[in-house]
Symmetry: C2
Subunit: 896 residues, 2 copies
């Protein structure tokens, strides 16, 4: 704890050796790095001793025109004296010099901050002492030249290239092939020239006074707090400028002091697979930089690893068994202490092990799941913690087929990772071809400039979709995510010649039928068919999901209308269908013709005749869905999109469609003209169609109810469908349709002599419906929030058009995030909360869910838990994500 008093606050905290003043809880004061070093020292781990200058000094520095508290200098000298005593060395002692590293360390790590200055304490005299002491002049001179280079660059802002050029020159002059070949004498020459550059650039000599070096480094750390990159990063992430950074000064240890020295990285478990086995690599007689530089091949940490790699005897466990055993014990202790898999940097100096850093280790999605489940089963963490540990969006990696890790990725184009998963197939360039080829049993990738609603059947038939234009929210992206198909959009390098059935990428030509592979998780396009790995939903993944299901309050449904999607979703744990978009059922070849006849009909009677043709098909669809979903609820949304979406638009398409459907092209054109709208989003669609042409919704209601009767006849049990009306703005609209649907239900009951039940409800996707939810709830047994449209209307923002300015909005920080990705809690969320409360106020049993794309977004799901929704509904492949996110949201609210 800080022993600060108004007269003399404690500006410096020591760690290691005989005194440790901080611990992990002081992250705000000591920064993340300082707090962790203190924590490790306090539990007795061999951390090189040092001290941390607190973030309060940084705050003081900026509050006082970049000056320091008056007694900081005294405290700093005391701390250095203490460190000298711990190490038995003197700071600037020419016979036995103390060397230190200086590192920044803010409470939150951020890019742009000054990183590290090593070897501080070396000067023209102490370097000789170090050479004598280590009996290694080469090592001493190399350390010194590194100090001058880092210090010159970081503290004085001298361009690194000036130093690199000198190094290259001396290497070439002395015929050295690499840095390691430079002799002690050559390094002395390097140092001489470095100091010359330093003098020219700064107007003064490289500081020989070690305290001057130390103050210079401390000032550079504090200065870096306000550099452009760090400021921009904080603003982008909503972090306060006031928190400040700490400075860590730590005694140097060296892994390059001979064959009894080493340096390396160790994990307490395997970060790739999650297996409970130590993992890592090291280099004898090396510094950390050498491991990173990749000049020498690191050796494995454990005997088991060495055997597996065919390098018996090479492991640390075998080479330095005592140090290795100590390291393994420490890894175990650290994992127990932090209750998570640890990633440790270590150095062995002349046989003595030092731990330089520990942190939670990065891991693959699969490893994250296995580690969390294993730790819970070992009793190290609770099941709740295990569930809370996994970032739900990581699961996306596990649910889709992925390219085998060892496959050779020759990337020919890149686009946006619009829908995850990997797929291989033969290239086709039209939706129609995709259908035909797939019909012959071929796997195809549909390649288009952009997709439109008419491509939907082709998209369904394809293994994956690749477009040259469009963003993450383009038609292709949205539909593909809905279908759970891999998709890359906006791959601008593609030159597609649809008429010639070929495309060119960077001078390379792909003809129709050529194989490609797309990785929708990375946006990479590769030639040929790469091997892929299927997702496994069992094992630890299954265990984790079962635990999550036990914790969550909200139900998870899926948005699905095809039997394939429904089956996938059930496999992924969907507890029902929250959104069955009946219009998608009308795009299939046999239906679109009748649909178009219906649209161009001149009278209600003609419309009814066309609808009569659709009735049996729609009824059969519902029968199949009911049978697949068994007892699970299905929410069926009646026709929603504007009718012109079903019609062809170009002259050529109009001619073709007219001929195929036996329609008069002039009539089709006239109808298109009539149906064209200035703002289709705000036009004739949703329930407005149902009110203008009551026969459409009557047909749909009849198809649903007759399917219910049919299923009851077959299985003995009648499903209870949930009929959902889109785009309701007023209770009057809903009441009118409720009446129509009730009449149809009664007629079907009478005609079939079969009784059945259904729920009647509405989308809440228009702001007015949310505002007047109490009134709407008089006619609705359930609400489902359509947050896509609700966001568009609440923001006055068309998703199709926002692409022109949203990027600049995000860049300028005007929108903190894309409201279509994470729900806008302040505005749209306010409506969601209001509608839920008012609706339930009117009808306490009101069932409330959400079926917009936010239903699969963990951040939004957290909000929906807060509001108290009954369920979320999302695309099949996001169901496990939603299950986990819902569990986490519930668990977070359990904690105080």
């Amino acid at each position: 704890m800080s022993s600060s008093s108004p007269a003399s606050p404690q500006w410096i905290y020591r760690f290691g050796g005989d005194t440790t003043e901080g611990n992990a809880s002081l992250r705000a004061l000591l920064g993340g790095k300082g707090a962790n070093l203190a924590e490790m020292a306090s539990i007795g781990l061999p951390v090189p001793p040092g001290f941390t200058i607190t973030t309060e000094v940084c705050a003081y520095y900026y509050a006082h025109h970049r000056t320091y508290p008056e007694n900081l200098d005294a405290q700093l000298h005391q701390a250095v004296a203490w460190l000298e005593a711990q190490q038995g060395k003197g700071f600037g002692d020419k016979d036995n010099p103390l060397l230190v590293s200086v590192r920044s360390g803010a409470p939150v790590s951020m890019p742009g901050m000054m990183d590290t200055i090593l070897n501080l304490g070396l000067n023209d005299e102490t370097v000789e002492g170090l050479a004598r002491l280590t009996d290694n002049a080469r090592f001493a001179y190399d350390s010194y030249r590194r100090l001058i280079q880092m210090y010159g660059n970081v503290v004085e802002g001298i361009d690194s290239r000036a130093f690199e050029e000198i190094l290259d020159a001396v290497k070439s002059e002395t015929g050295a092939a690499s840095d390691a070949d430079l002799s002690a004498a050559a390094l002395q020459e390097v140092i001489r020239r470095y100091q010359e550059v330093y003098r020219e650039a700064t107007g003064h000599d490289f500081p020989q006074d070690t305290f001057e070096q130390l103050w210079g480094a401390v000032g550079a750390v504090f200065g870096s707090w306000m550099n452009d990159r760090a400021v921009a990063y904080r603003h982008l992430h909503g972090l306060s400028d006031d928190m400040g950074t700490a400075v860590n000064v730590q005694a140097m240890v060296f892994g390059n002091m001979g064959d009894d020295s080493a340096t390396g990285v160790a994990f307490s478990r395997n970060p790739a697979t999650g297996e409970k086995a130590f993992y890592g690599e090291y280099l004898v007689n090396a510094q950390g930089e050498d491991v990173v530089a990749g000049i020498r091949t690191p050796q494995p940490l454990t005997r088991a690893m060495a055997e597996k790699m065919g390098r018996p005897g090479a492991s640390l466990e075998e080479v330095m068994p005592a140090a290795a055993q100590e390291l393994f014990d420490i890894l175990t202790r650290l994992e127990q202490h932090y209750r998570d898999m640890q990633d440790v940097e270590f150095t062995i100096e002349k046989g003595k092990l030092y731990i330089l850093q520990t942190r939670a280790g990065k891991r693959t999605a699969a490893a994250a799941v296995k580690i969390a489940v294993d730790m819970a089963e070992e009793g190290l963490i609770s099941r709740e913690e295990a569930v809370l540990r996994i970032d739900p969006s990581l699961l996306d990696q596990l649910l889709h087929p992925t390219i085998a890790p060892d496959a050779d990725r020759e990337v020919i184009a890149r686009g946006l990772p619009a829908s995850p998963g990997a797929a291989s197939g033969k290239v086709v360039f039209t939706a129609k071809d995709a259908e035909e080829w797939a019909g012959r049993g071929e796997k195809v990738i549909l390649v288009r400039y952009e997709t439109s609603p008419e491509d939907i059947r082709g998209m369904h038939a394809a293994e994956g979709i690749l477009t040259a234009r469009g963003g993450m929210t383009s038609h292709a992206a949205v539909v593909a995510r809905g279908m759970g198909k891999p998709c890359i959009t906006g791959a601008g390098a593609l030159r597609i010649q649809e008429a010639k059935r070929r495309m060119e990428v960077d001078g390379r030509v792909f003809e129709e039928g050529d194989l490609i592979t797309i990785d929708g998780g990375t946006g990479e396009v590769m030639p040929g068919a790469l091997p892929t790995v299927e997702a496994s939903l069992s094992g630890e993944f299954g265990t984790l999901m079962a635990w999550a299901d036990a914790f969550r309050r909200m139900r998870v449904r899926t948005n699905a209308e095809t039997p394939a999607d429904a089956r996938t979703a059930v496999r992924f744990g969907a507890e029902g269908i929250g959104l069955c978009r009946t219009e998608h059922m009308f795009f299939q070849e046999d239906r679109i013709v009748a649909m178009r006849e219906m649209i161009v009909a001149d009278s209600a009677e003609e419309r009814r005749q066309a609808l009569e043709k659709l009735l049996p098909m729609q009824r059969a669809d519902f029968v199949e869905l009911f049978l697949i979903m068994e007892e699970r609820p299905i929410t069926i949304r009646f026709l929603d999109p504007p009718l012109h979406e079903f019609l062809p638009h170009t002259d050529k398409e109009i001619e073709e469609v007219s001929k195929a459907a036996g329609l008069d092209p002039a009539k089709l054109r006239r109808r298109l003209q009539e149906l064209s709208e200035a703002n289709p989003m705000l036009g004739l669609r949703g329930c407005r169609l149902g009110i203008l042409y009551p026969e459409i919704y009557r047909m749909q209601a009849r198809a649903v109810f007759e399917a219910v009767v049919e299923v009851k006849r077959r299985t003995g049990k009648a499903p209870r469908p949930e009929i959902m009306i889109p785009l309701i703005a007023t209770s009057g609209e809903l009441a009118a349709i409720q009446q129509e649907v009730a009449e149809v239900a009664e007629a079907v009951r009478r005609r079939t002599g079969t009784d059945f039940d259904y729920l009647f409800g509405t989308m809440i996707e228009i702001p007015r419906a949310a505002l007047c939810a109490d009134d709407i709830a008089r006619h609705a047994e359930f609400f489902s929030f359509g947050t896509n449209d609700l966001t568009q209307m609440t923001y006055g923002l068309s998703r199709d058009d926002a692409g022109k300015f949203l990027p600049q909005y995000e860049e300028k920080g005007i929108f903190p995030h894309d409201p279509f990705q994470h729900i806008d809690r302040d505005g749209v969320g306010q409506l969601v909360r209001m509608a839920t409360e008012r609706g339930r106020g009117q009808r306490p049993a009101l069932h409330v869910g959400i079926c917009g794309e936010h239903g699969g977004d963990p951040e939004s799901i957290d909000f929906f838990e807060d509001v108290g929704l009954d369920y979320v509904s999302c695309s099949p492949y996001r169901v496990p994500i939603a299950r986990l996110a819902a569990a986490q949201a519930a668990l977070r609210r359990r904690q105080p």
Copy 2:
């Protein structure tokens, strides 16, 4: 008061003669007609006695499967006995028969209800008695045949044509030219045949029992309560089915009993001019029907009228001086009693005056104003009442030039009365021609199929606008109302041949330059130039408006950007400009070129160069507006519409514009393509333009501030402009623009050395802005509700596209009214209230107004008073309407 007891409720109330049991306050129980008759009787006016069967009987009737309370029959016999005693006649007495009328009378009058059965009580015997008693067999038989006809039609539903055919047949058989020529014998034949038809249609004889007749008529009245037309009317007007109708049974009096009898209509003041003088007309020896039928020319009521009409001696005052004097006394008493101008129906039977009905008289707008002011000055009503009496929307008639009342209207086409006022001028068919002709000093009427934003300058130049297509909310209608120009839209009979510069209407051809007159108040198009009458804003109108101004709390501003509009609005009493749409300033010829250059610019630098050209023009506009408005505030809205509205769209226009502006047509096309949007309403416009192209708003800010400096230099006083940012959804947007504007202000202050002040605020027109108004108010000193867009987004309803289904919505009663006409209090109004409260919660001094079209709608203004807005802003011609409506709204809230 009702003396009802559980055992025997009072079902019947008497009036006239020696007993009157009701009064005007019992409208709910006795219906409007019954309560008024009782009221008149109770103050001693000569009302033929009668009784009212209450609305409670109607309620009972429908609650008990169309049966009556058990003791109603007894009460009815008592009431008839009482009436017999009052009249000294017997109901069914063959020597001295009592005849009665039976009329419906609901608390609210409504179409579709059964109206009247006269002469009830006549049968084959009593008709003879009546003939003897009146010594007028023709009169008696005519009365009887009328009874059979009315009763047969109303009670038994026999088609009236069956009776008319008989009447025609007997006329032709007896050689009678008109009904009046039928002899008594002929009428007896008519009666015989009527009774035959009656028997054939019903299977029974015409009832000879007078009580049977009475029950039949009573049942018909109650039955008519639930007929389709009455039910539809009530549902449309939100009236309850439960209120029911009463039945009035009243002794008959006859104006056709000889030359000492008469019937007529009288007003207590002149309903056309409002002059305080009795007014009306009458016919000697006639029944009410005869006045309506128009066969004889009625005579004037007063000597003064008779003299003015050149018919001295014809007036009632001269023909029946005693009855006339009694009538005049009664008119005076009734006006004093009801404190409003009365419209009275009277009958004189053998010299005795009877009043059959009184009600507030309908009047012209001018008369309404004069009467209200006169009555207040007479002390009859208070000034508050005078102000509350005038329907504000009536003022529209007074503010625009109107066609002289005596002009000969030869109507050649009709359309929708889209913007009131009359205008004459020469027909032109393009906006460009309108400008050219007007430039030569010609008055023109612009005739188009539809107008578009590019026609705006032509619309400004024209006297009036006539379109063949479009509704009340089409572009032409909205813009014309904003300009206060007469406009007719949707005149479907016009066949316009723009290329030939001619139009055909019903076979008649109008060439360019032919004169026409349009009446935007009626939607009528007439050939030639009809004389018009200018509006007068002085006299009683001025007095009334001065009173209104003293009562109102809200300020009234205007929406104006041209000097002409601003001057008109000031003349009409506008207290400032609430919306100056700067984009309208860019449509003028010299500016649109620079505007287009700006739009097609490739870089911010090119854009700035084009904007430099617009700067001096825009600055000059503001200088002029500041000078016209003097001390009055001006709210200047920065550029709002999507940029593509400024570009030409057809190939021909693109070629023309490119040539004129020296632009590359390909570049223009490309830019058009880039700017095209799926949903422009929800796209790149408003503040989004200001954020994407900051240089646009910077230019506008500079023009405003430099104009302020210029005006201060000229007048010594700096105006304080109110800068308003459109389409704000988040506080981040507003904050970014606030920063830009503040920088420009500071730069202008520094460069000119002149200090000035300004207000910075925003439109609230996006639902999110209303929901997050507290946050928005951190950056806004004022709010102005843009309720047009707010309604569109809150309803998810594009005004441009809603025409396809709104009519059917209103027809089906799904929307109680068009939300663009009267603000939707439940939904949109909720946002207005919420934003006002939250905004003021954040910033108590926040100034809040409204500048959508609802700002000129009295019903909406009432709501805005309720919310507590500071002002409304509307088009210049609606300013007086808003002043009056605001006063009424304030007065209504003064009352308990």
